[in-house]
């Protein structure tokens, strides 16, 4: 993948007729969506419709699970990330990820970020990088006096922000978030949402969420996923639009039922 920042594309990530398979089972069918730069795009839908699977296809994390494969294309800045010459490690470097359960490394807060930077050959001022990353993740003031304590000694919300700091320390272009607040209390959740608004100035964010208020509050675009047909148990994006349109004037009856709470 070319390393120059090809940012003349308005859409950072585009999918073309994307199908995702677990072995022979087609988990996600025919997804066409475009993720706009410096916006927050939410993916919502009922459990088991393939939201996380779709998200993981955006940075090839799916490949870590045995037997997964895709058909169609995922374009990142106009380039197919599944092309044969593309190294998945490079993809994950450019498209970072924050997981549902906070998963800091069992190392110190400082090392969580320093190790991440070091493996990518960072040669600059490490203290500065750690501080900047933690500041951007709104965590600096809470941890500046205990940088050398274990990352696991923090509260759940702090751990999740440490994971965000870790992700942004290597300056990705996109941050994928897989239900980042589902294991957190409402106050920690709010902090993450405020943080996302800050981060979107510099990064493009795609977030999977179960929480429809969260999608409505925090996102610019929303993709509504649902099982395409009940026999095949295969999920697809049934509607993709600006968030306020999805929540006020949805085109699809199923979306309307879901967002108004009559369904799912």
């Amino acid at each position: 993948m070319a390393t120059n920042n090809n940012s003349n594309h308005k859409y950072v990530i585009e999918t073309h007729d994307l199908d995702i398979f677990y072995g022979s089972f087609r988990a996600v069918t025919g997804v066409n969506m475009k993720v706009e730069r410096h916006k927050i795009t939410a993916i919502i839908g009922p459990s088991g419709c393939g939201k996380s699977t779709l998200l993981r296809a955006f940075n090839r994390m799916n490949e870590l699970y045995a037997g997964t494969s895709i058909q169609g294309q995922v374009m990142f800045d106009g380039e197919d990330i599944y092309a044969s010459q593309v190294d998945p490690v490079e993809v994950r470097y450019r498209i970072g990820m924050v997981f549902q359960k906070p998963n800091p490394f069992p190392k110190s807060i400082y090392e969580n970020i320093a190790w991440t930077a070091r493996i990518h050959g960072y040669r600059g001022n490490m203290n500065e990088l750690v501080e900047n990353s933690l500041r951007q993740a709104a965590l600096w003031d809470e941890v500046k006096d205990k940088l050398h304590q274990s990352g696991l000694s923090l509260s759940g919300g702090q751990q999740q922000r440490l994971c965000i700091a870790r992700a942004i320390s290597i300056k990705p272009e996109v941050i994928l978030m897989d239900e980042p607040a589902s294991a957190l209390d409402p106050i920690a959740t709010l902090k993450i949402e405020e943080l996302m608004q800050e981060l979107k100035k510099n990064y493009t964010i795609v977030i999977v969420t179960h929480n429809m208020q969260q999608a409505a509050r925090a996102s610019d675009y929303t993709a509504m996923m649902m099982l395409a047909d009940r026999q095949a148990r295969s999920g697809t994006v049934i509607e993709f639009d600006e968030t306020n349109r999805i929540f006020t004037i949805p085109k699809d009856k199923r979306t309307e039922d879901y967002v108004t709470g009559r369904f799912g």
Partner: protein
């Protein structure tokens, strides 16, 4: 509490359920107690053999060896050497001198030789610790009537001398230093061989090998190998290390042949054989440990663009290390107690030289114990009991150091 009214279709079985639980509780507790009793019985039995009264008669009375009224114990080194030279046959004297020149031997050493070769205390009878404590008077009386010349001493077969002396054929002067060094050298090569290869294989099988027929066959075979009787590994070691690789294991390729061996029955062969024996155990335990590293940690590492190797080296291995070390401790405990494969590989039964290179002849503690227990004389059974205590202490020391090492790894956050 007021009793709940019986709902149609249900019955009041809480009492029966609790009774069933109690029965199982008692059974489990009994199993534990039986296990502990067996262990206590074992230890008591060994201790019983390792201490007690010994009656012995000197074949030559030490008093007759006094020179000009100076008793044997006060004579100088030179006088003692002269005594040996005049008493022993010239052939026996030359042989001793060839093993180690008298000029290099300490006074202690020469005195030992005199006890061993001239005075030659002969054991009349040995008593275990229990009769020695409870029936001392009776023992004395019997001895006085049956062997009036014999001396009676309370002896701890396990002593500092026992641990530091080399093996000899006389019970009073025999020690296990040779065997301790043999065991340590052997286990050193076992670890050097089996640990890196075992952990490497486990990493390959868990992290890299794809789930295909070939790899499944390998996995099944490793699991089966862990259950193969150890003597079969001995035969394998004999065929491969002692015979086929003889130039290597005897040190011939390095020009380091021990003049007393000149074949492949060396410390190195024994270490490699035991290494083969414990390799499947280390692989299986390491695989378990690697598999237990949570997926979320791997995701975290891959999610920030780490390569497979960076993930394995920086996260999987450090987190699996306590488990890997636990498995290795178990494996080494097994290896250090193995006897059968070493008999086949050709451990020496009677050598008095410490091994000093990978290409030395050797004996080990279990071999020594096995050899002593098969002797008909009672005193050697006492020696065996003392050696078992030494083996247990050695085992516990090795395990304790491995546990300390493991705890150091576990403490990292």
């Amino acid at each position: 509490m007021k009793e709940k009214a019986i709902v149609q279709g249900f019955s009041d079985n809480l009492g029966a359920r609790n009774r069933k639980g109690t029965v199982w509780y008692v059974l489990f507790q009994a199993s534990t107690v039986i296990g502990i009793l067996a262990l206590i019985a074992l230890v008591l039995n060994i201790i019983n053999g390792a201490f007690g009264y010994v009656a012995y008669e000197a074949r030559v009375d030490p008093d007759t060896l006094a020179v000009d009224g100076v008793p044997l114990t006060d004579q100088s080194r030179e006088q003692l050497v002269a005594l040996l030279q005049s008493t022993l046959s010239s052939g026996a004297y030359t042989k001793l001198d060839n093993e180690k020149p008298f000029a290099d031997r300490s006074r202690e050493d020469v005195y030992q030789l005199i006890v061993e070769r001239i005075i030659r205390p002969e054991v009349v009878q040995v008593w275990n610790l229990w009769p020695s404590l409870t029936r001392a008077d009776q023992i004395r009386a019997t001895l006085a009537s049956e062997h009036p010349d014999a001396e009676l001493d309370f002896i701890s077969w396990l002593s500092k001398d026992f641990v530091t002396r080399p093996q000899t054929s006389e019970a009073f002067t025999a020690g296990v230093r040779t065997a301790i060094f043999g065991s340590l050298w052997t286990i050193l090569f076992t670890i050097l061989f089996a640990f890196p290869i075992g952990v490497g294989a486990a990493i390959y099988l868990e992290e890299y090998a794809s789930d295909n027929r070939f790899n499944r066959i390998i996995q099944t075979n490793i699991n089966n190998l862990a259950g193969v009787p150890s003597i079969i590994y001995g035969i394998l070691g004999l065929a491969i290390f002692v015979r086929t690789l003889e130039p290597l294991t005897s040190g011939a390729v390095f020009g380091l042949v021990d003049p007393t061996t000149a074949n492949g029955r060396t410390v190195l062969s024994a270490g490699l054989t035991l290494g083969l024996l414990v390799l499947p155990i280390i692989i299986i335990n390491s695989q378990e440990a690697i598999r237990a590293v949570p997926r979320s940690l791997r995701n975290a590492s891959f999610g920030v663009g780490a390569t497979k190797w960076q993930t394995v080296w920086s996260h999987v291995l450090p987190n699996a290390m306590p488990g890997i070390l636990t498995g290795t401790i178990l494996a080494i405990s097994r290896a250090i107690g193995e006897t059968a494969p070493l008999v086949v590989v050709g451990a020496s039964t009677a050598i008095s030289f410490d091994p000093n290179s990978p290409f030395s002849k050797f004996t080990t503690l279990p071999i020594q114990i096995y050899q002593w227990t098969s002797r008909p004389q009672d005193e050697f059974r006492s020696l065996a009991a003392a050696s078992i205590l030494v083996l247990l202490v050695l085992l516990l020391t090795l395990n304790a150091s491995a546990v300390l090492l493991r705890n150091r790894f576990s403490r990292r956050f």
